[in-house]
Assembly symmetry: C2
């Protein structure tokens, strides 16, 4: 049996590795259009912010390792353009322009996501860099190392935009962030949003929300980002307005997409074609909160869904329980995390949301070095069930979110979560953990 | 209705506060033998280690605040010696020697725990200090501030012993730790135990396990701790060999105790007398893992069980879901945490335990500042259910344990936990969180 995988990053290589271990008799061929496989894409902004780092330190395993140590037929520099479902053949082009094709018994699409390219004149100018794969990361690092970048403009204010603002400030670059909408991270509770804005401004990031970019002009000294009522001179522009699933070849082959444009898969990672699976950022998932389909392109689910697809292709029967939409990022000294859904999403999903917003502490009463932890927690008024949480603070946020994610996986009520026996010691939190305090307030508010 | 509370610390004052808010018509009287109520007892070792701190910073709320702001009749300097269940009267002695008595409709016993006093000649000598309440903490601070303490001997190697070793080293005191048994923290996996021993030795703590103390002699320069084959000169001895529940008056009144000597309570916090409740360190609890009674004197459960007892006394019907035996402490740069039970406890409880021990990382591949996180995870072979975990590492341990505690509250299997959507970002962990990796290995080991 031949198992063909399109895309050799997190999901693709997880599937290949798992299948290779489960069925040594199986022929596994992976087609990857770049030459980078298995690297920490999420590490790129942090890497760029560190003058001492090398982009190559993000490589977890090289293509040769997969070939030599795991016996996986990994073909880099191969771009797949078409799936012929009738003939069970995929075809594409090598980087030298030569066409290729390959038959499959089972196919996994793990083509990932790509940066959304804003429709702005000048977006293809020199000095405009997207950050999606390791090639992009290397280019930005190299450009910064020329020493010619004094000012940068970032388009967008999402995770990657914020991480890049932090990275560029660490490299001494002046940063302006521009986005059309007024609100930074619109999914975030407004009070918490202000905490992030304060942190950005404290670190010298210039924010320019509520304005759209008309054009990016090439000038003598570099670039000019022209907005409706102001212009910004700079040497570097990073568009980071979001990503979209690479589902084009799936759609062309008649596979079902969801409302997000991602490839629709069942809990086993299978598309509407029983011989074709999809995993990672190109595919969707089930929310453990709503039970509905969601599309959240993040690393852990990419790895896990790839692995599970590999297992099912090998004849195991593994179901994906779904995702809690957990995420965390660091911006300067602030940790920001979320899990589940916010009140607006809850209403849209038919819940009757109740939200509490509290400020608690990161250490016990009287313990030095105490920092504020902000928590916005949402529950369902009718059932008492927890629906989501958002947190921001200078310490103790990143791993606390895990406990709430596990609570969501178990559909816990605020009442039951309030009773959770979380570990306490003075350097690590108050006796009543911030999440327990928030759950307690949610309980009282619903009484 | 009159609600009388014996003991004005975490459990007692939580009950009083909650009842006071729920039923303004209720007469609430609290008898506390010391003058300290509502303070961070767990903060004392950390406070002692900080030359700049004041012990008074650990006071969360003063007796006057409870009296004036919450209208609670809080009688400090009152030691309760007897409960007459037939007459519904408690009696005792004020600090001036005057006797007192007080009738009750409902009674809460929240007498806490006290240090075990080792049967060693000289244990009452000057320079021997126990650390249990704020008076003890003040005395140790004052003694250290005389500058005469150069060397200290700690008897025991549990949480408090380790925290005190850390604190005294921070104050420049030479520390020797002596205990009869060979193993430090016998409940801890042996590999993890070595990690702690290394940390102690790296920080100049002298360990002398496997030896018992024969006597503590008073000498010209201070004290000599005489062991079977060696003696230690010092100016300070801290016995920290454990605590025991203060259940004497309960036992004398014919209330049921459990095998640990703690007051036996049901899930509503009630003893075998329907008018008498017990909460906090003097009472027991149900384990969410085994369903059996456990006695774990820790702050969060003390607060929560006091609060729940207060609710039930006010006519609400709140049940305690039980504890996961979660705990965390810091010793020098190391965070050590646990939740649930270890393989030996699992076997004793009738499970068929399976353990994996792994070393993972605190940050993503290629992210600077990576530290090792050691994990020992136990599951049940028959059912796949998770039973317990222990972790040690220089960062990222303290709050990670929370997610596992929540998993235990939900009786999750390793398989389900492996699917938990934990938040990932490079500064905070690998893509596969150390706990997910351990759960995955547990799964494979049980296949």
């Amino acid at each position: 049996m031949r198992f063909v995988i399109i895309g050799g990053d997190a999901a693709g290589m997880s599937a290949a590795s798992r299948a290779g271990r489960l069925r040594r008799d199986m022929e596994i061929i992976v087609f990857e259009q770049t030459h980078d496989v298995s690297y920490s894409a999420c590490g790129m902004p942090y890497n760029i912010g560190d003058p001492e780092a090398s982009m190559e330190s993000l490589v977890v395993r090289r293509a040769e390792d997969f070939r030599e140590k795991q016996g996986i037929d990994l073909r880099t520099g191969h771009r797949v353009d078409m799936i012929d479902r009738g003939k069970h053949i995929i075809s594409g082009e090598k980087e030298n322009g030569e066409p290729f094709e390959c038959g499959y018994d089972k196919l996994l699409i793990a083509t990932g996501a790509s940066s959304i390219v804003p429709e702005v004149p000048g977006i293809t100018n020199d000095g405009v860099y997207f950050l999606k794969d390791l090639r992009d990361g290397r280019m930005i690092r190299n450009y910064l190392e020329t020493g010619s970048v004094k000012k940068a403009v970032i388009l967008g204010m999402g995770y990657i935009a914020l991480e890049m603002a932090d990275a560029l400030r660490k490299r001494g670059v002046h940063v302006t962030m521009v986005k059309p909408r007024k609100r930074l991270l619109p999914w975030l509770n407004e009070e918490l949003s202000h905490v992030i804005v304060d942190e950005l401004e404290k670190n010298g990031v210039e924010l320019y929300p509520g304005h759209s970019v008309d054009t990016i002009e090439k000038t003598g000294s570099g670039l000019t980002v022209v907005c409706d009522d102001r212009s910004f001179e700079c040497q570097l522009v990073i568009p980071a307005v979001g990503v979209k699933p690479n589902s084009g070849i799936a759609a062309a082959a008649g596979l079902d997409l969801d409302d997000f444009g991602a490839i629709s898969v069942d809990r086993r990672g299978r598309t509407n074609d029983p011989d074709i699976y999809a995993a990672g950022d190109c595919a969707d998932a089930f929310s453990v909160v709503t039970g509905s389909k969601v599309w959240v392109p993040l690393a852990l689910h990419a790895n896990r869904s790839g692995r599970v697809a590999g297992e099912n292709i090998c004849g195991m029967d593994t179901t994906l329980k779904g995702i809690a939409c957990s995420a965390v990022f660091k911006v300067f000294e602030l940790e920001v995390a979320r899990a589940g859904i916010n009140p607006a999403e809850a209403r849209a999903a038919g819940f009757d949301p109740l939200e509490v917003v509290i400020a608690s502490r990161s250490r016990a009463h009287g313990h030095p070095g105490n920092k504020t932890i902000h928590v916005a927690m949402t529950g369902d008024k009718k059932t008492g069930r927890l629906l989501g949480v958002q947190m921001a603070g200078a310490e103790g946020v990143a791993h606390r979110i895990h406990s709430f994610a596990v609570a969501l996986h178990n559909s816990m009520s605020a009442e039951d979560f309030w009773q959770a026996d979380l570990a306490y010691a003075p350097p690590f939190g108050p006796v009543w953990d911030p999440l327990l305090t928030a759950a307690g307030q949610l309980l009282r508010k619903s009484e």
